[in-house]
Amino acid sequence: MPSLTHLQRLEAESIDILREAVAESQRPVMLYSIGKDSSVMLHLARKAFYPSRPPFPLLHVDTTWKFRDMYAMRERAARESGMELIVHKNPEAEALGINPFTHGSAKHTDMWKTQGLKQALDLHRFDLAFGGARRDEEKSRAKERVFSFRSAQHQWDPKNQRPELWRLYNTRKNPGESIRVFPLSNWTELDIWQYIHLEDIPIVPLYLAAERPVVERDGMLIMVDDERFPLRSGETPKNKSVRFRTLGCYPLSGAIESTAATLPAIIQEMLLATTTERQGRLIDHDSSASMEKKKAEGYF
């Protein structure tokens, strides 16, 4: 009998998790952030439930500040999967015109993403949400269960997680509690890229190098993706061959100079790189132990 390669094992495990979660919840939803991990997770969901459509909607918690290429990808993903797409924008943030330039990255992220997510989950009464987080991303993620519980206030209590044995997931929740499920828990960044390559999964083109208008700010290369970008005096966007290791709000995503325009080329660069993918995210630099704190407060 042929034994499975590690990618086949990961795929099978993720599908197992997706099915188990769907079978044991009333109103599941998949958080779709348009990035590479979300793309893999969506692809796995299509495999898990084929020939049925994945029996849950996609939820995008929008900040209105994503790259234009990301919005295009979002529409394409919804169209191709045939799944319902729910886009939630925190109305309060919208009214106040929250943006990273005037309000800072911390406030921007908290209002649009953390609060926005809580609102959307409460509004639609979702009791289970799939997220594309991986344990290799960060130290506190490495500690999280596949089925992770949140209090009615969406809080994570890392000191009191349920035991999770074998592949027997206890999905029973107390009133008000909800579950975050991470089907990609055991995938690494390399696994994700290799799987995208093998399965030919569509991704946002920003992951591949191309000439793009960027300015250098606070030691990071920021892409000027639309006319809302307030240029400081003396700043003129320059065209550079760049790509992104992670995608979020464009004013907060640092680009790297690169000419890697194919998947194998970016995998090669990643393997030879000397820093992690989080390096390009402004949000992690805000404070140490910031991720655990954000998660305890309800950030995905």
Binding site: P51, S52, W166, E292
Partner: protein, 643 residues
């Protein structure tokens, strides 16, 4: 410290990334844990391993540097534990609270390592990590030796079925890299493992100083007396048992796939064996049978599904199947029962309440159930079995598990996924215990098999092989029991249901009223013949190992079972040879007249005229004789699916 790790990988990445990706794709995966007592250096070891395997990048190193200055236990030196202890509470207290999963790869393998907490309070988190591991690295602080918690973790490791243990004798720098200390700990630990009758098959001890990296990725100059492998080298090369190729199919149905009225698929993960279109299956608990029509996937239909894969099957017949049912091989279906003997590890602060209604999740089904007062609780230090009224947090005991309805199962020793369960409290919804099934105590009564009579043929179908009697005959000391035992072991290994009747289990019970006079010898064989007949009817391959000296009684036994079901095996050893061997000194006694009616001396042995098999033991050793019997059964088509 520089190491060879990833050097060839790195060169390949630079020169031929496509080739690297192909190689990497086919690497095997080893999942392991680190465990042991508080502060023995588990997290430090993992941190150091990540460092040695070059799995740490610049920004992680600079964070580690800063963290070490702030929270570190090593002054201005790097504190590698901080790479894994990712929760703020852990960093403040300098202990591990919950499992951390980390990932790295070398040229040969991919690794997922779970760093588990040593503190007794967090045993449940250690068990969480252990349940999915192939191997355990158990650490010991060389200054402290084997502690209670070392024993507890070793015991839990053996309960979850881990076969390989690496004993990492750590902090050797603090005892002057003493070989003697290492040897003493190694000896003491092995003595403990010997007495654990669990799954651990192999212990490899390595002297280490995790903090400094001794013997982690290369041989340390501080331990010139140690010639074994370093840790990474060992982990890269240790064999991981692949799932058995001829295990029977097991697939719990997780989700019924109904996109429209014309399609009805059953989605689940294959937890044993493999499946192909055309395979005969049986659904449990209903007992309904069908054949597999298609294995459906997004990339088109598949020709085969193997153990570990998540698949969607369609069947040839419209039968009612719902979530929690188990699709299994028709020839070798899973067991079905509602009461079990099980080992249970209690994980919750609130003690077990015998008889209370809990929820039990196994496979894809959750059913109501209760647990009896423990038969015994195991004291982890001494491994003594103690009487107990309940199970308290972190205690392990053997109990009876009774469920509200029958479930499909296999013993944990045969199939980890089909024989494990968790216990959930109905009020708090917490996972309060984990358990492994030994065997069923009561087969389910209300099984609705398909409308077939339960007869010999039906039992044979279920067993996947035909029943028969292997009747061994020959002089005392000719080798009947030795060969019969070997045959039974070989058949059992093939998955055949057997039973061996010999002097030990018959003379002391059923026939203890009989002596060795001729009439008693005849009655002895008649009874054995009757018992063998019942067992053949029950579908077993029965082995009988008695002198059975008279032709007429052997004929009687032969006539009790169907044609072709009686295989007479003449174990032919001459009187001169058995008398010379005389293992029990019986021939000497008989010659001296102290034993009456002894076959070959003062009672005749009538050799068979036309035995099915004639084994001349003076030309054939026992192993070869046993092999020839198994070959004969195979040739006769008795072994069916187990051939």
């Amino acid at each position: 410290m520089n190491t060879a790790f990833q050097s060839t990988d790195r060169a390949l990445i630079e020169t031929d990334i496509e080739q690297y990706l192909r190689t990497h794709e086919n690497k095997s995966l080893l999942r392991f844990i680190t465990c042991g007592s508080v502060d023995d250096g588990k997290s430090t070891l993992i941190g150091r391993m990540l460092y040695e395997a070059k799995a740490l990048l610049d920004d992680q190193m600079s964070t580690l540097d800063a963290d070490s200055k702030k929270h570190g236990t090593q002054g201005d030196e790097l504190d590698f534990a901080l790479l894994v202890d990712g929760l703020s509470a852990e960093r403040e207290q300098g202990i591990t609270i919950d499992v951390a999963y980390r990932f790295f790869s070398t040229d040969k393998r991919k690794f997922i390592v779970a760093d588990t907490p040593g503190h007794e309070q967090y045993t449940r988190n250690m068990v969480t990590g252990a349940s999915t591991a192939d191997l355990a690295v158990i650490l010991i602080d060389a200054r402290k030796g084997v502690l209670t918690q070392t024993r507890r973790h070793s015991y839990l490791v053996s309960l979850v079925g881990i076969k390989h243990v690496v004993l990492a004798v750590n902090k050797l720098d603090l005892v002057g890299y003493s070989e003697q200390v290492f040897n003493e700990i190694d000896r003491e630990y092995r003595a403990f493992i010997e007495r654990l009758d669990g799954s651990i098959e192999r212990v490899t001890s390595i002297p280490m100083a995790a903090l400094r990296g001794d013997n982690i990725a290369e041989a340390s100059t501080n331990t010139p007396w140690y010639t074994g492998p370093n840790l990474l080298e060992f982990l890269e090369n240790v064999e991981i048992a692949a799932s058995s190729t001829n295990a029977p199919l097991r697939m719990p149905v997780q989700w019924v796939n109904r996109p429209n009225l014309d399609f009805r698929g059953f989605s689940g993960r294959i937890l044993g064996g493999s499946v192909k279109p055309g395979d005969a299956i049986r659904v449990l608990p209903s007992g309904k049978t069908s054949t597999v029509a298609r294995i459906v996937s997004l990339d088109g239909d598949k020709a085969q599904g193997v153990s570990g894969e998540s698949v969607t099957l369609t069947l040839a017949d419209e039968i009612d199947i719902s979530r929690g049912d188990v699709i299994s091989s028709a020839h070798d279906p899973a067991g079905l029962a509602d009461q079990f003997e099980a080992t249970i590890a209690w994980l919750d602060e609130t003690p077990m309440l015998p008889g209370r209604a809990y929820l039990v999740k196994t496979g894809a089904s959750t059913v109501g159930g209760s647990i009896s007062k423990p038969k015994y609780v195991v004291e982890v230090n001494t491994l003594d079995r103690l009487v107990a009224k309940t199970l308290n947090v972190n205690e392990v005991g053997v109990c009876t598990l009774t469920l509200d309805r029958a479930i499909a199962f296999d013993p944990y020793a045969d199939n980890r996924d089909m024989g494990s369960f968790i216990v959930i409290d109905r009020l708090s919804n917490h996972t309060i215990a984990a358990g492994t099934i030994h065997f069923a105590l009561r087969r389910s009564q209300n099984i609705h098999w398909q409308a077939l009579e339960v007869d010999k043929a039906a039992r044979a179908r279920l067993n996947g092989h035909k029943p028969c009697v292997l009747w061994f005959t020959g002089l005392s000391g000719s080798g009947k029991s030795t060969i019969a035992n070997l045959v039974e072991r070989k058949l059992h290994a093939l998955g055949v249901r057997t039973y061996l009747l010999d002097g030990d289990n018959v003379r002391h019970g059923l026939n203890k009223d009989l002596g060795f006079t001729a009439p008693d010898r005849i009655e002895n064989i008649r009874r054995i013949g009757e018992v063998a007949k019942l067992m053949v009817d029950a579908g077993l391959i029965v082995l009988t190992a008695f002198i059975s000296p008279f032709r007429s009684e052997r004929k009687l036994a032969r006539d009790m079972v169907g044609a072709g079901e009686f295989v007479e095996i003449f174990v032919d050893t001459s009187l001169a040879v058995v008398e010379a061997r005389d293992p029990k000194g019986l021939y000497k006694k008989a010659r001296r007249g102290e034993l009456k009616n002894f076959t070959g001396i003062d009672s005749p042995y009538e050799a068979p005229d036309a035995p099915e098999l004639h084994l001349e033991t003076e030309k054939l050793n026992a192993e070869a004789a046993a092999d020839s019997i198994v070959a004969e059964l195979r040739a006769r088509g008795v072994l069916g699916l187990h051939a």
